[in-house]
Subunit: 227 residues, 2 copies
DNA sequence: GTCTATATCACGATAGAC
DNA sequence: GTCTATCGTGATATAGAC
């Protein structure tokens, strides 16, 4: 019958191998910094064979990014779908996010590029680009909605969900994308089990405290959060 | 006699003009994504004239980055040099950092690239690269030392200064580098006076609370928050 | 200091044999 | 599907006139 839906652990297709090396290379040096020749050679193919699987460099880049986002979404969705309270849900979300980013450093770097670079090509012109856009929006809607619900339920203090999301992205995506610089700063590896656990605890400690609902008395004097 | 040490506001040299456009272009599309021809034309020069001022593309990139770091250091140094307590010092440092990054968005982007990209060229081979390295280390030493002193003095809870620095970088440098994405998420401009003030308040609120020294009893009460 | 012209090379993408 | 060969373009960088 069909093998659809089943992973193929023994025989990775050429397409998957190309995506693997493209993900690593694009993460390291960005879209413009990687040549199709380099990707092809790293995947063990000729350059023309690569263009048989992906019609253009932009399509390859977007396909690699889309795969990263798909895997990330698969890791985050269970945390958001659980029927826990907002605080516990946010903890699970944070754990899942950190685990997913720490599992593969190239994913964090590629994701960071997607979030702050104005891509030179027109992403919307490719179907992969639209898929990328939709996946980003879905993930953002999930975490933003969680924060919003928590505020409405009184579990979090009244703050700006968007600003918290930006802080969360910076504290996770940037952290695991920081590579050599981050390791030099920490004085050790970024991706060891211990370093990941420390990061998780540190981050949750900040979130726990920074989002905790407070007595109205100690609330900010200028409580006009516009966004 | 000499004009050394005086700014020249009326007659910007060709070199300064080149650095201006290089900073913007490299920030937007990275080292590999910008051509020397594009820089030259944006600066109103011929391509060969550009190579008269900067011997290579790598030197131009590093010079632009070095200028960004120099200006940032000038803004941060007063906050660190003040004779305030650790908490107030950190507040001033945060204000200065946010103001400096918000003042010019290209600076934040170029700085973010410097922190997470493994540059394709050998930065150490150029004198500008060594200067970049020294300036980054100086800034890091300043904020890390401030956090360390605050912990020793009992003003901050006992945590990892390096992790706090990473969180701080993510919450500031990434935030102001996020450009179109960040504006879409916030639903408004990133760099307006109001948005900058909101970001400052949000960030200091997180820091204030996340770093506050706590009674030893509540220090490790993570049963409610950890799954 | 700025220019025109050029050297040399790598790029993305295509054609067509096998 | 993979290959060799090639097209057209634009890259960094240099040479030398003015």
């Amino acid at each position: 019958m069909s093998t659809r839906g089943l992973p193929a652990p023994v025989a990775p297709s050429s397409r998957d191998k190309i995506l693997d090396v493209a993900e690593v290379l694009f993460a390291r040096r960005g879209f413009a910094g990687v040549g199709m020749r380099e990707v092809a050679e790293a995947a063990g193919l000729g350059k023309s064979s690569l263009f048989h699987h992906f019609r253009s460099k932009a399509q390859l880049y977007l396909a690699a990014l889309e795969r990263v986002l798909r895997r990330l979404d698969e890791r985050l969705a269970p945390a958001l779908a659980s029927s826990l309270g907002p605080a516990e849900k946010l903890d699970r979300f944070t754990d899942a996010l950190v685990d997913a980013l720490a599992e593969q450093a190239s994913a964090a770097r590629l994701l960071l590029r997607a979030l702050f670079e104005d891509d030179a090509f027109d992403a919307e012109a490719w179907p992969e680009g639209q898929s990328v856009e939709r996946r980003i929006e879905a993930i953002l809607a999930g975490i933003t909605g969680l924060l919003h619900d928590g505020i409405e339920a009184g579990a979090f203090r009244r703050t700006s969900p968007a600003h918290v999301v930006q802080t969360l992205i910076g504290a996770t995506v940037y952290h695991f994308a920081s590579g050599e610089f981050g390791e030099g700063l920490l004085g050790g590896p970024l991706l060891s089990a211990q370093a990941v656990a420390t990061r998780k605890a540190e981050l949750k400690s900040f979130l726990h405290c920074g989002l905790a609902a407070r007595p109205a008395q100690s609330e900010r004097r200028e409580t006009k959060w516009t966004s």
